[in-house]
């Protein structure tokens, strides 16, 4: 690991100022940062440790808005009975991710900003990677393996997949993130935080240099309580998603009044499947309508050789998640 300077400011303004310096990067739990620094994918001159900002560790799920501090730990939130009860998909998206050891240090803010697991991005022996080295090409698309890549929201410059799970529970339920920086505080819809690769895959979010995510806020809706996060993994546990879905449903009698569907493991950014949601609203929730929603969720998927399997798998996961929620609601 290349050497760097280290600071641990106690005030958010100081942290933001330090992080705005060129060559500086923020570290929270460090499970993405230290990993990428070790393998030389990132080499900051300065690390700004934000763990001194202890105000950001709290969270609250009561009331009409859930609020999660950016420094709340994945394990703490996942295991909280109040979270499990009020928003099962959120708890599941956290405990089905990474490992217990990682979840004990990884923070919610760091989690949403984790980097792609594209093997060529992660291996500096490959010169071609537009994300790591803008303009160099894409080793995945130019003769490489594309089995861990995005079939939704990719571009001809980059098909890296956004690997996080938690983000799918957030985007499905209209989360917002509060960020603090030189320009003061602003609130960004979670769906606009990440940007698709387009021609500049090195730009991954709309955050300005030095901006710190302080809080994640979610409006409470009835579909949250009837939600789940289903994750297909190659190993039973402790692997990134091959395909996953965060879903939530609210019924009005026999018909669906609200439905949320977001897809993990398949897209370049956190991905809300709004067309699939539209197909279900006002309909009964049956095996057939669930399957149809799964199919529609992948209608716009690109054929990508190594990842073509994700289309059928992902559609099954969406349908399976919807049926799981239905059976939990006490439907047949």
């Amino acid at each position: 690991m290349r050497s760097f300077s280290y600071s641990s400011p106690g005030q958010i303004g100081d942290a933001s100022d330090a992080a705005r310096e060129s060559g500086a990067q923020i570290i929270a739990g460090g499970t993405t940062m230290v990993d990428l620094m070790k393998i030389g994918v990132i080499a900051p001159d300065a690390l700004v440790d934000i763990n001194g900002l202890s105000d950001l560790e709290g969270y609250a799920v009561a009331g009409d808005r859930m609020r999660f501090g950016a420094l709340a730990k994945m394990s703490t939130v996942a295991d909280d009975p109040a979270v499990i009860d009020a928003f099962p998909a959120l708890s599941e998206s956290l405990w089905k991710a990474a490992s217990p050891q990682l979840r004990n240090v990884a923070t919610l803010g760091g989690n949403i900003l984790q980097r792609t697991r594209c093997p060529y991005f992660r291996d500096t022996a490959y010169a071609q990677c537009n994300k790591r080295n803008p303009g160099s090409g894409c080793a995945a698309l130019e003769g490489g393996e594309t089995n861990l890549h995005a079939i939704l929201g990719g571009s001809s410059a980059c098909v890296a997949m956004y690997p996080g799970d938690f983000a799918q529970a957030l985007i499905a339920f209209d989360a917002e993130v509060v960020v603090s920086g030189a320009g003061g505080e602003r609130t960004i819809p979670f769906s606009q935080l990440h940007v698709q690769p387009g021609d500049s895959p090195e730009v991954e979010t709309v955050l300005e240099p030095g901006e710190i995510v302080t809080e994640i806020v979610l409006p409470v809706v009835p579909a949250m309580a009837n939600s789940t996060y289903l994750k297909a993994r190659d190993r039973e546990s402790y692997a990134f998603a091959s395909a996953s879905a965060a879903v939530g449903v609210a019924m009005d009698g026999d018909t669906v009044s609200d439905v949320r569907i977001a897809l993990g493991g398949v897209a370049s950014v956190p991905w809300r499947a709004t067309d699939a949601e539209d197909s279900l609203r006002g309909q009964p929730l049956t095996e057939e309508t669930a399957r149809e929603a799964g199919r529609i969720a992948f209608e716009t998927a690109e054929e990508l050789e190594g990842s073509a399997y994700k289309i059928a798998l992902g559609a099954d996961v969406v349908a399976g998640a919807l049926m799981q929620v239905k059976s939990r609601m006490g439907g047949e």
Binding site: S3, Y6, S8, T31, D35, S75, P100, V105
Partner: protein
């Protein structure tokens, strides 16, 4: 799934090849040690002395910002019971307890552990030499073969019970999934954990 780039000359590395993939990770247990230690070049001007409580004793260690906790424990404090396997957060060989919770010491910067209490495998037996119940249970249940993963497994197992995630074998497997064992001692590890859980409840 293996995250190292697949061999481009070998078409169709199947996503179903997950057993291959995970054994590739486990197969690197122990092999990254040299590489990690070889990196300690040019000392930085930013070296500093931090205080850590390790196995109940307050220790001062001089580290660079880039020194990981496992390097501080092994190289500076000479506590080599904590192992380095993958060095990337995937295998759990480096598991220690930090502030009472299990963490991967290979992904923790030592400077960020300043002021915390660390427990390593060396701190488990009591001063008279009696093994910790989990160590004894691992021995009784043959919960290891080569033993490389064992210190990490034992610390993780203690935390698994402490967290309340050892209610049945399925839950134990899920909550021990951050500790890989190249030798495949998993059934015996689960048995050891169940034994300790039951004796604590009884």
């Amino acid at each position: 799934m293996s995250e190292t780039p697949p061999d481009l000359t070998r078409p169709g590395v199947s996503r179903r090849g997950f057993l291959q993939g995970s054994s590739a990770v486990a197969g690197s247990l122990g092999m990254a040690v040299g590489a990690a230690e070889a990196q300690q070049a040019e000392p930085s001007a930013d070296a500093r002395t931090i205080a850590l409580t390790v196995n109940g004793t307050r220790r001062h260690v001089t580290v660079e910002p880039r020194t990981t906790l496992v390097e501080a424990l092994r190289d500076t404090l000479g506590l080599t019971g904590t192992k380095i396997g993958c060095n990337q957060g995937q295998c759990g060989a480096c598991t220690v307890l930090m502030g009472g919770t299990r963490v991967n010491s290979c992904l923790t910067l030592a400077v960020m552990a300043e002021g915390t209490e660390i427990v390593t495998v060396e701190g488990l037996a009591d001063p008279t030499g009696d093994l910790h119940p989990m160590q004894a249970a691992f021995a009784e249940n043959d919960a290891f073969q080569c033993g490389y993963c064992t210190p990490g497994q034992i610390l993780s197992a203690i935390a698994c019970i402490e967290e309340g995630h050892a209610n049945d074998a399925v839950e134990i497997r899920e909550y021990m999934s951050g500790n890989l064992c190249r030798c495949g001692a998993y059934p015996n590890i689960v048995a050891a954990i169940e034994q300790v859980r039951d004796s604590e409840q009884g």
